[in-house]
Amino acid sequence: MSTLLAVEKVTVRFGGLVAVSEVDFHVNEGELVGLIGPNGAGKTTLFNLVTGVYTPTTGRIHFDRKLVNGLNSSSITEMGVARTFQNIRLFNSLSVLDNVVAAFNLHLQSGFLGALWRGAAFRSEEKQIRNEALALLEIFGLQAAAQSPCRSLSYGDQRRLEIVRALATRPKLLLLDEPAAGMNPTEKVDLMRLIRFTQEQFKLAVLLVEHDMKVVMGICERIAVLEYGRKIAEGTPEEIQKDRRVIAAYLGEEVTDA
């Protein structure tokens, strides 16, 4: 299995604050990797580094063997990285279907002039994109709501729509930022099934940031743990559960007599 995403000795500083420090990290093709750590450990910052929202102060990030440092978000998405957001960020004035259609923009053949001229090629492409978007929505059980405004969806459905929208960019790596946040236990079980299904169906690598340990331990093949911007452990769920440093990070250390 070859490496899809390679983060090498990446550091990012915001003024005096070192948010992520010398982190080495990788995701293989088709792998489901979890990224955990206490609040403020730098998980979302790492996400933002990979997706080009921030540029690393030092270190290198490769995706698909290409250096992505300093590229803007849209070019990185073009290379095959898609993400969802911790706080849902749908296109609120658009319908459910149009949210997905907008994400097809990336692969559009007919651009500005096509939209003005509206020739045969344009029309068949529009139709094809629409059908693909509807097919994606159907896989995730959202086709009935395709024409409704996306704001009218329930919280869980909005989260699913974010995943559908990300998939519409045809990614190789899907980044999920706390997808289980605010979900009840039943929804969480559904979500786990959904993530697994997505990974297999679309042959994706998935990088998951999540606080809910049941979800993380339940589906991840490998887990990396961050604390204060440093990677303190990495391994299978079983290894992580036994790791002293991880336990210390989450629960604090035992007081021992000196």
Binding site: S73, S74, A102, A103, N105, L106, L108, A115, E126
Partner: protein
Amino acid sequence: MGARSLVLIAALAVGLVSFCFTGHPEAAWPLAQIDDYLLNILILAGINVILAVSLNIVNGHTGQFSLGHAGFMAVGAYGSAALTQLNGKACLASLSFLGSAAPLGLFVLSLLVGGLLAALAGLAVGLPSLRLKGDYLAIVTLGFGEIIRVMIQNTESLGGARGLAGIPNHTTLGWTWLVSLISIYCVGSLVNSTYGRGFLAVRDDEIAAEAMGINTTRYKVTAFVVGAFFAGLAGGLYAHFIGYVTPEGFSFLKSVDVVVMVILGGMGSTAGVTVAAIGLTFLNEALREAEQYRMVAFALLLIILMITRPQGLLGGLGGLARWLPGKGGKS
């Protein structure tokens, strides 16, 4: 959908033939009976529609806040007048192969040149300033509009503060509304496509749009350039309608007028801003007696609308989208 676009194209063709290629189109049209006053208002309404619809792609669809639309209009007005008035003779001579249609040909050419110059100005403003958002962008565009005005004011060859008189009166009702229809069609078609969903995505959430592979900078600049192009056309039409342009005519207040039309009509609703532009033009005339109280009436109208329909006259209804080609149908 085929039928719809056919109807649209047919309408455009009929308009083109009947209005443009007869020297005095009003004479060849039932509208011959209407009096000059109404005719003038209708022409002004058409120009305002172009301005409002073109500002709408920037302020409404792409969610940027531009206060410099009058600046682009000025570029178009002076740019086209530079051809027909300042260099009229030379230009006419080079178009002599068109025979008797040469003045008309020059007029069309000058409109296009004015539009393109304005688009260029849009590009020049857009590229550096679109890193800014909201209020900051508004200030920069406002400043740009004023810079254009002051530059013209101090350019003697363009007539300076005295303005430019004696511009040939080529603008007719037909031309105005032809360009209006074209601008409505262009903005409508652009927005109602997968490509155009990008504008709306930028408006709704820039970070998410960027994460979905939508190049937000390119979309914003495109919106600015398209908006400026049509504002330039409107400026050219205006110059050849009034026959006389001054820098004062393109002041900050003119930009505000257009912004009011867009807000009244509903940000992002092409049909809404069209209705608002026509309505406000007529209201402006109806209140001509009241002189300075006109502005009070406008302000009241805005306040009432914001309380009763914050999304604007036709905002949030999908509006024109339903009968524009490519969108409607089975959905």
